[in-house]
Symmetry: D2
């Protein structure tokens, strides 16, 4: 859509039309009382809106179509996709077509014993997938960066512990990939590759990870709009990998003074992404709030809003954890969360059945 | 807490201590490896932090205590308050001690027939309190401003229709007060006085409304932190009115590009405010999302997070409404919401009983 | 502009066209490869976009025209306005057509002696208009609220001191109006009526103040976009008062962690508002940064960006001030600012002359 | 600083003190009227604040010291640094000790002829360093990604054109590094390595780039606070590379509705960073505004605020550019900017001399 200034000349209009036609589209000219608007007809991706915006007499030139298409429900049929919701399989765990899937585990893998003991707790609580950080993207260079910071050997050791613990308790595993040089190594060990919020904008990492042929979990950056999350997801789909799961983990708080939470969980993102795309959506209430005492409430809320699963930090003794202690729950608390969320999911399903009739 | 610069001199420290003592407090001096920190002992409200912050050698001077005390659970016992959660009675409706209270009705009262017909629908759907806007705070001066914009006579007429509809269906009423000159008029007609998000910072309006002796519903401004909401609530409590209900209605979206919702609902605000204060908390999913199709999901989520009630825009025919049509639900949809939220509340209560054991 | 869904039916399209025509406009239908777009032709203010947005098959319905017209340069000629930049006269001081106008004085008027002594300093430093707060909108109810908080008598006394000080040193005066009940009182004493950032959204106050027939200074709310500032300015212009001056004073900081300033000054707002409207624009570097040591640099930057003036908090002894001490400058510092800004303005004017040739 | 709850027990306090002492620090206990505060004495980096925050009776546990020390002026002397402002040499160009340094060139290197012709224009306009993008981090996967997207061969070709153009006109060169696998290649060709805003949080890339031993230009992420920018800068300094230049390029706009600029330039960041660190600071008015017509004003403003230089997108024909046309200036416009900024710098220097006397 190209909006002309109120004082645009006929020549200005003619030139804009010419550029639209040069790009292989037709141009519909609508003359309003104050302004003329020019509507391009055809594939807008061929149009150079930046160039149009600098032309004389042009007030605004904006794309009407979405910046993502491959993951979109609306465009699915143009790309031969079914457009319904997609189920992503992480070995024997399916995300997107039933009970909320629980991903849980420690922020950081610290030792073989630690991850083994936590895996046992997660399994007992009803968890489905084991998480454990090997590469920690900390804000301060002076803070603990995870076992992965000790080089490939340290990373591989921690990854093997994570895999061993997952195997021992029959749970697929997930870990965050940080740094392109580690992508292949991580792909050899885990079942689900996690791209953290801070790396959402890193197109090279996204493409690299997508090419490993494993399911990918992409977290929304804390400064990103939903549209940006979807645009960057398209980088993964563009590599042919549609086993993609999105995760809301909170955006930066607004306003002066204390917000009392580390981030602001945007739970409306769940139904919005379900409306816009066919992808499953998780929520991470641990990072989203940064507070152990809020994880239960926000897990329930996320499930009630339709989340396909939760990603929760758990530890047998949060006070001992090297990282993120204040936001970790114990296996007993995790079990309460799992039980409550299952009941809420069941209730939602029953209500949905009634509403559809 | 006064943090001195690493190069502060002994004289700088002595002077700061003297000012703290002048204000009637003692000063504890902690000498660290790099820095000295001075901790005032006593009532920090007597201290002039602004003055301290400009003194030589001072790096930072910050209040440790909360800017609100009267509504605080932590400070309650110092003010002879019980500190438990408070129930606010709006005539026969009690907010804060049981099932979520449903406030519903049209954005704007348009005619006697319209509000009467909507009241019937709200009651039938299970609503408890009838809302209806008389003064609409629109962004554009060229948009419909509500019947109240036609002067006191127009306002009084609309208020009387609202009251009549509430009485006819045995529901208390609520309307937004806009403009100090209308406060007394509004207080004569409604049972609950609503201060809108745009006016949260208007201390004079807050105090005026508080003094009417009726329960007050205060909405969080869309650019305000939770701490600011609580600080401004204190203006109402300071007038001796603690029949105060807070309402989360969304904050401004973050990031470039589309957020797909008008605002970002911050549902973690519910447990946070319950932890910090003894006040009931509502959520407005209609304004919080601006989308009819998201109201059900976000109502469920808010209830699952512990909200004491919901404020929902409803209309027998949203497409006919003069204002906010895209976010209104029909009475049938409202009934679905009420039923689902009751079930979620029941589930939460059962779980809470188990957790406490 | 109404954008239809990719699967909208012909009937959906026909219905939207009918609604557009009902409102008295024509509808241009543009059929794209994926989507149909409907462009209304005529006065868009007559269209009910909210209603259109809820119609079946509609994806988005958005106004193309600006929500403000009376203050707009682009629309000026349709309203018989010249469209050039406007000069606003505050008695003998003219804002908008020359050297940056300096408004300075204390945050709060504390006593006759204080304001008199500060007025002398402001005049000596080269200031043009004297500011002094009578009603202080503080975040905490426990903080000093200004002399105006002591009721009309206290307010009138402080206002008379301000006027006396202005007269003594031949400077017009400005003070913030807080509370509609004080509007007439304030209008009797000051030459320029200031609406603070927290009240930018208070349409009733805006209209009341506009009707006093005195020039108005409107500050941008710290959570408002530029479009919102302009939309709310239109409330003042709609009362027939175009002696309107806008003021940028900082928006809420973004991101986790410290921003080191109270707000983020958005200096690009200056050329943007000059492009969009014919109104003069001031900057308040005192509130915008909250730091005395940044006032000089940000005053220079604002002037270099084309500001028509500055609003600066000044005091002969900042450490003594009851409010905002950390952001006040002394008369000597004010003089340095005035001199530097005059030189920058001169340089800008010379450059502008060269650029135009 | 550890703040205890008002109802913390003596046992709670004793336990916190024990943990502080375990970490090798002393603990000063300050008993206030309502609360007890515990101040750790010693190197706070040894303390585990996360663990402390989860202990019973603890309300808040917060670090008082800055999360960056190596780049800090305040801590400089503890690390044997001079603490004054640092000058960074990019071959024969020095940033940080004089006239604003102008980095200019196209958003993307498109061909040998294009970059050669632009280099000539930049040199003629008075530019010092030649920029040109080889790897473009675009939001949409469907948009042009730069020559670097064609693989290492395409990247190397574009880099060699850039180098050739720089050599031909005796200007050092700078380009953005995107993707760790390209770091060494880029380091072989350019004189200054640029890490873009989207990658500010990518610690691995930061460390990799730092280790190349070349000066580094780090841009602030558009969702980052100044503290975050400084914390992540510390990742570069921690590799022993202090030839570091920071760049403000705008943060995400706040508020509903149009901001009229792509980002909000935070010019107060310039004096703030100069106060906090010894590093030079640049401003990028092209990305910061996204508008050609604002580049002049914001360049002047940045220089007036004390910027050590500017990074500006320039092209002999903006309408032809494949990327970012709307924000590019021509060589003639660049010359006007350079001349105006030199004059403003001179004026600032003269004023500074007077102020210091």
């Amino acid at each position: 859509m190209i909006i002309m200034k109120t004082d645009a000349s006929e020549t200005d209009i003619t030139r804009v039309v010419a550029v639209v036609e040069e790009c292989g589209l037709r141009a519909a000219v609508i003359r309003g009382e104050y302004q003329t608007v020019i509507g391009p007809v055809g594939d807008e991706r061929l149009l150079d809106f930046d160039r149009l915006a600098t032309m004389p007499g042009v007030k605004e030139a904006a794309r009407v179509e979405a910046p993502y298409k491959l993951i979109s429900r609306e465009y699915a049929r143009f790309f031969g996709e079914p457009g319904a919701h997609r189920t992503v399989a992480i070995r024997n765990v399916h995300i997107g077509n039933g009970e909320p899937v629980i991903i849980a585990g420690p922020c950081a893998v610290e030792s073989r014993e630690q991850i083994m003991r936590i895996a046992e707790g997660v399994k007992r609580a009803g968890g489905h997938i084991l998480r454990g950080g090997v590469f920690k993207p900390r804000s301060s260079v002076h803070a603990f960066q995870g076992r992965g910071a000790q080089g490939p050997a340290g990373a591989e050791e921690a990854l093997s512990w994570l895999k061993e613990a997952g195997d021992a308790f029959d749970m697929p595993t997930v870990t965050e990939v940080r740094g392109e040089s580690m992508v292949e190594l991580v792909a050899r060990y885990v079942d689900l590759m996690h791209i953290g919020a801070r790396n959402m904008y890193d197109q090279d990492l996204l493409a690299d990870v997508a090419r490993q042929g494993k399911p990918v979990l992409l977290k929304r950056h804390f400064g990103a709009s939903i549209e940006e999350l979807l645009s960057f997801s398209e980088y993964i789909a563009a590599e042919g990998n549609k086993d993609l799961i999105l995760c809301e983990r909170g955006i930066v708080p607004v306003g002066k003074g204390k917000s009392y939470t580390r981030y602001t969980l945007d739970l409306a993102a769940i139904p919005v992404i379900h409306e816009e795309t066919y992808l499953p959506v998780l929520v991470d209430p641990s990072h989203g709030t940064g507070r152990q005492d809020l994880v239960f409430d926000m897990s329930c809320a996320a499930t009630a809003a339709g989340a396909d699963g939760l990603m929760i930090e758990a530890h047998y003794n949060p006070a001992e954890a090297l990282v993120d202690g204040p936001q970790m729950v114990t296996p007993d608390e995790l079990k309460e969360i799992v039980d409550a969320c299952r009941a809420i999911y069941q209730l939602r399903t029953n209500v949905a059945r009634t509403r559809r009739q």
